[in-house]
Subunit: 404 residues, 2 copies
């Protein structure tokens, strides 16, 4: 049989590593012939836009290069499948592609929205009596997928956030006048990535002095009080804030994507203006923007290795005949860090979000507890030996025309 793999949702540093995992494991299986890459996620299956990956990836060096290349080499999408009871036409198109190309298993690397696709598509195929298997491989820097201990891509994003905040602490501490630096970090409803900045406390840094996540209540009055308290103790106060904390209407840009998620941005500059007006000190806001999800040059080796492993595990799961499943990590131990890879129903992850546990947030709702550090620390450990080209990290590149 042949298989197909696609990448979906927002870019991370680890999605290509999971692709490598699927590819490499499939090469080992005598039952698997062609390995197709579907261009732009599920859209490639709908439009029958597929690439034979064996014509793209030739050597172990290619795979190493792909492991260190951020984002999705096969493109991505934010396509939401309709309910097939209402409109099955797009499902028919997908089925046609799958049958025409003799694809026996499809692997979808993505977040909670992609697990919605895995669930719907596998249910549709089962109803049609098809034995084509659909398996979800998780990824998201948000770490908000249910069931799994953590998600591929999160560890690398957390490592970038921590290392960059560490450098921002150095940068902001140089002048003799008091200052406040506000760093805006991604996370719509779940504060995992913002909270992970607390790993710097493990290095003896007092900063970030304040950490605000969407899971705790936020008010400007309390924020000003918190900042003043920290300014009494520290010359340069560092604040880490999630893009998703609740502030008055109209601050966040409010553009809405196909899944109804608001595109958030602007909390940092909003709080910067608020501090300037209320406290009147030197203040700067910094948005880590897309760098936090694509800075592969500083990825976590733990994350990249695990992302490859969970892709490979997905192939073995499909070969066992399972479908409608998502691959998940189960943590057995923090130190020494030990995880196993298991399967769960995709339905348990689809369209749901896992929030930070209450015990990871301090009583004042403005910082992260030491208990959380035991969770975060193992995920950011280790580095890849990055292959450089002309002074910058090399990337695995596909001709733009192949993706058109």
């Amino acid at each position: 049989m042949n298989i197909a793999v696609a990448q979906s949702g927002g870019p991370t540093c680890a999605i290509n590593a999971s692709l490598v995992g699927v590819f490499k494991e499939s090469l080992k299986e005598p039952d698997i012939d062609a390995i197709f890459g579907s261009v732009n996620g599920i859209e490639g299956l709908i439009q029958n836009h597929m690439i034979d990956l064996k014509t793209l990836i030739f050597t172990n060096d290619d795979m190493e290069l792909l492991r260190q290349t951020p984002s999705t080499v096969l493109g991505s999408c934010r396509y939401k499948l309709p309910d097939w009871h209402e409109d099955a036409s797009v499902y028919e198109q997908i089925l046609k592609t799958l049958e025409q190309r003799q694809i026996g298993a499809f692997f979808y690397i993505g977040g909670n929205d992609s697990m919605d696709t895995v669930q719907k598509l596998s249910a549709f195929l089962a109803e049609r009596g098809s034995d084509i298997r659909i398996i979800g491989i998780p990824k998201t820097i948000d770490n908000d997928l249910c069931v799994t201990d953590h998600t591929p891509g999160f560890g690398s994003a957390a490592k970038y956030v921590a290392a960059t905040l560490h450098e921002i602490i150095r940068d902001s501490s140089v002048y003799s006048i008091p200052s406040v630096t506000i760093v805006e970090i991604m996370g719509r409803h779940a504060g995992w990535l913002t909270a992970s900045s607390a790993v710097l406390h493990q290095l003896g840094e007092a900063a970030p002095h304040l950490i605000y996540v969407p899971e705790s209540d936020f008010s400007l009055d309390k924020f000003f009080r918190d900042v003043r308290q920290e300014m009494a103790k520290h010359k340069a106060v560092i604040v880490a804030v999630s893009e998703g904390i609740e502030v008055p209407e109209g601050v966040q840009s409010g553009v809405v994507d196909n899944f109804g998620h608001k595109y958030l941005s602007g909390i940092g500059s909003y709080l910067e203006r608020a501090v300037r007006e209320e406290i009147g000190c030197k203040v700067r806001s910094i948005e880590l923007n897309v760098m936090q999800r694509c800075s592969s040059h500083l990825c976590s080796r733990t994350d990249i290795d695990e992302s490859e492993a969970i892709g490979a595990a997905g192939v073995r799961c499909a070969l066992r005949g399972e479908t409608g499943k998502v691959m998940v990590f189960r943590r057995l131990n923090d130190m020494p860090y030990t995880v196993t890879i298991e399967t769960a129903e995709a339905a348990l992850c689809a369209n749901r979000e896992k929030l930070l546990p209450k015990e990871y947030i301090n009583a004042a709702g403005n910082n992260i507890t030491d208990e959380a550090l035991r969770y975060f620390m193992p995920l950011i450990q280790g580095e890849l030996t990055i292959q450089m080209h002309h002074g910058v990290p090399a990337h695995f590149m596909i001709q733009e025309s192949l993706l058109k």
Copy 2:
């Protein structure tokens, strides 16, 4: 005799390497006893706030750690000395500190504003018949210092900008819909850092498709025309723009520092709004913010090694009896890259800015020529082996209380 060293102006990845250069070279000189660090630049000399560096830096490992630590370990300032003919009181305070601590030479690591200090202070001391020597060690990510081929700190900033833009290209190319990504890069009047993003063309990237620097004329009409032209050729258009390009009044924040420089910010989000309104496509702006000056985890080894060497050369220059000088790089060859370190009058650098040569900008004023690449490429080559701690790059840290 004793010596003193201070760091001034905006942080870079290389200022601590120059400090290591001064420190290490001084250790070799039997004539030099104490090596003082002046806290917060020239302010430390005025307030007699000095640290004996031999009580801080003990081992070669400490020096290695300092070389990979961004920003200024001794703090910084933006203090402008008055004309001493009008007000000599602050000069008297500095002289008192220098004499009381038996300091025979003072090294000031900084940009064009700091060279103003070197010039004034050395002229004042000469008039007073003092033989205390004042030597400037250049640094600035802006690369806008006259006389020298390039400045310490620039190569690391350029490497960060290029590597990050490379990752942003991957990130922005994933979706099937057309998009424009605008990356705002530091540079008030000189476009060196923005222009350096063109090194990606050497890697076969078409992006950045448009590069705007302050040295060429900018108009919104021409910008829209340029963007539309590139959108016809590329799905994801990448624009690199200097914070200092001229746009209508009121866009940039306009806060002014002690040297009369405007604190600029906002060009990226201004152009983002303009593209959204005029062209109506998906558009995002990204500000590289302070990360471009403090991301030591991705520094250029060429830059760090040169920054240490130019600090050491400053010590030898002072021991030869020179004063009022700035150390400069002279490039002998692009390939193989060869530079020597020479001296120049600090007056030639003080308060002046070196702009991009006309031949580095294309005829349309919207990109950078290949000729410029021969200049930029050698400066971003090589990496340090970064020492990690708990998963993030380790930093040399001084107790906050010592800097108070």
